[in-house]
Subunit: 351 residues, 2 copies
């Protein structure tokens, strides 16, 4: 019986196009020779579309996207578009509308990767960043804009419903890992209302996962440990904004955002999950074949895993690990990296 | 004519007592032989007082504190006090009531200090963290607490008045430094209302400081540069929460919070400014003479500078730099470090 992976592809802006092409190349290669068909539907979303039509994401786009098994996204954004337009109107809108409440961001220091840390140790943790609440909800506003009496507010909204589901997901992930450790990161000594909701929720859900050891760090202290002792982390659960900050830092200590993958996951599968590199559209190097597609390829691994292709996901990860370990000093183009990874995952197919 | 430094001293909890004693020792030493009298008034504030009386900061405490030239604070907080009580009721309350709108946090990698970074380069920047607004205002709240329908909100309040005054202060500091560079850190692509207020304000005030070069980083990207290229920073201006996060990270890359000083400054001098190490009360090592008082001593240098004793401040800093450069592998007690620094600043007095 032939299985189909029905993929929506939002290549987007800048290097998005280039890295997505390599991600799809590796995806095709890893399922080749098996009864799996990859069907891709490109979506024209991002800066170009906005300039042409003024649209960021229409109801039709959204309805159509909902019909796929998953979404692969390259990067959206361009300096020619006012700040916030594509972020709020497209990227965050997708995360919110498709209820991607688990923003999954693994950090692993692959052997051979240079870290800016002198003694990083073994780094292998995953950040479970809440994806649909917190300071990202867009419930702020401003009055008297542009006058000396302007007041601009941002509202962080946190619900028991929203916190509990992501906390439970994080516990389940921690329980499935060898170290079974969960670190809640917040700032409950200052943001007392939201912080205490997170804290109480973690305490309560812990009863369902008695094997999991829990600790807590204020977000400021968490940044310290990420540079002084990153091996201490196993699973981190945190809110949308703290997760944004910590995962860029986590990427930096494990070789940079050129390697950082992410999944915007809807664990209830009521809508397609979306996989994307953590990096942006990098317009300065777009179109030059300079972008490292590895983060996108690792995002494809997360996608495969989410769709039930665990073995294929593992093969992609192993290929990336081997590729990184054997990187010489020669620079390779975007497609050369993709070709190498595609060849590696095909070669790895059991005969 | 004898000048007097009239100091309120909040030694506080845990190691606060020990480090403040050394800070005062160095302060006495650096002004000794000059016509300067240091008068200190201890304030019993923190965990012990709260346990005894239930009070965090009374109107009388506050009125009395207002009468001093400056405040030296060790650390407040203890695990026996519920989270938020002393932070919101004492520390943040002081910052807000005394209008400490400039939370000044210099980061310098002293020669001889071990950094967790493999190649930190020269690090010498200062974070001007807004101290009276943003997500710290305590304007959040929660409904249906403890039920499955709980909603907990936190409100970040940002005013043109509040942003402009701290931005202007940061520009003035940047203009007075050799590199004359100011980096605004925010997240204006997501927190569009607050972010755009910050952005517009920086653009406008830049006209008054045409020599200062301005750039902008999202907070997530800023954490990356703090570990990959910290020398790029000169003056950073940012909001209360981002400043909290960035300054702990900045402390980590420059040798740890044992060395990180801070000033809660009211540049208009309508009330006393307050100087404190960035670290907390560290109850695990309290009373053992293990705490490094250097962060407090460097906070005393900021205090001296604020009160117009620039030469004395420079002497304290130089003594710290020399002490750090000559640290062997032997561990010294809190008071041994204080004694060494006190001796060094006295010895340095011009004959
Ligand atoms: C582009 C931006 C809206 C986004 C975020 O803040 O979530 C990005 O930084 C990320 O981490 O995916
Ligand atoms: C203790 C806490 C309230 C405080 C803050 O968040 O400002 C501390 O982390 C600091 O940076 O001075």
């Amino acid at each position: 019986m032939t299985r189909t992976i029905d993929l929506a592809v939002i290549a987007g802006d800048g290097i998005g196009q280039e890295v997505v092409a390599e991600g799809l190349k590796v995806l095709d290669a890893v399922v080749s020779g098996q009864d799996v068909t990859v069907r891709t539907t490109p979506y024209d979303l991002g800066a170009a579309r906005w300039h042409r039509t003024g649209e960021t994401l229409t109801a039709e786009d959204l309805a159509s996207l909902r019909g796929h098994d998953a979404i692969l996204l390259g990067a959206v954004g361009d300096p020619s578009v006012p700040s916030g337009v594509l972020e709020r109107g497209l990227l965050l809108r997708l995360r919110f509308e498709l209820d991607h409440y688990v923003n999954l961001r693994p950090s692993r220091l692959f052997p051979g990767v240079g870290s800016p840390l002198a003694a990083p140790g073994e780094v292998d943790f995953v950040v479970v960043r809440e994806g649909t609440e917190g300071p990202y909800v867009g419930n702020g506003g401003a009055i008297r804009v542009g006058t000396p009496h302007e007041v601009a507010n941002e509202v962080s909204v946190n619900t028991a419903f929203g916190v509990e589901r992501v906390v439970r997901d994080a516990f389940a992930r921690a329980a499935a890992r060898p170290r079974k450790k969960l670190t809640l990161v917040h700032k409950h000594n200052v943001l007392v209302h939201a912080g205490h909701l997170w804290r109480r929720t973690v305490e309560r859900v812990n009863a369902e996962f008695p094997d999991v050891t829990v600790d807590y760090l204020h977000v400021d202290a968490a940044t310290i440990f990420l540079v002084t002792d990153p091996s201490r982390f196993d699973v981190i659960v945190t809110d949308n904004l703290f997760g944004d900050i910590l995962t860029d830092l986590a990427a930096a200590i494990t070789g940079g955002i050129g390697l950082a993958a992410s999944g915007n996951v809807n664990p209830d599968r009521t809508s397609p999950s979306m996989f994307e590199p953590v990096h942006g559209s990098a317009p300065d190097i777009a179109g030059q074949g300079k972008a490292d597609p590895t983060a996108t390829v690792l995002s494809v691994a997360l996608l495969l895993d989410h769709l039930g292709y665990g073995q294929e996901a593992a093969r992609v990860e192993a290929a990336v690990a081997a590729d990184i370990a054997n990187r010489g000093t020669a620079t390779r183009s975007t497609s050369e990296v993709g070709d190498a990874l595609a060849a590696a995952v095909s070669a790895a197919v059991p005969a």
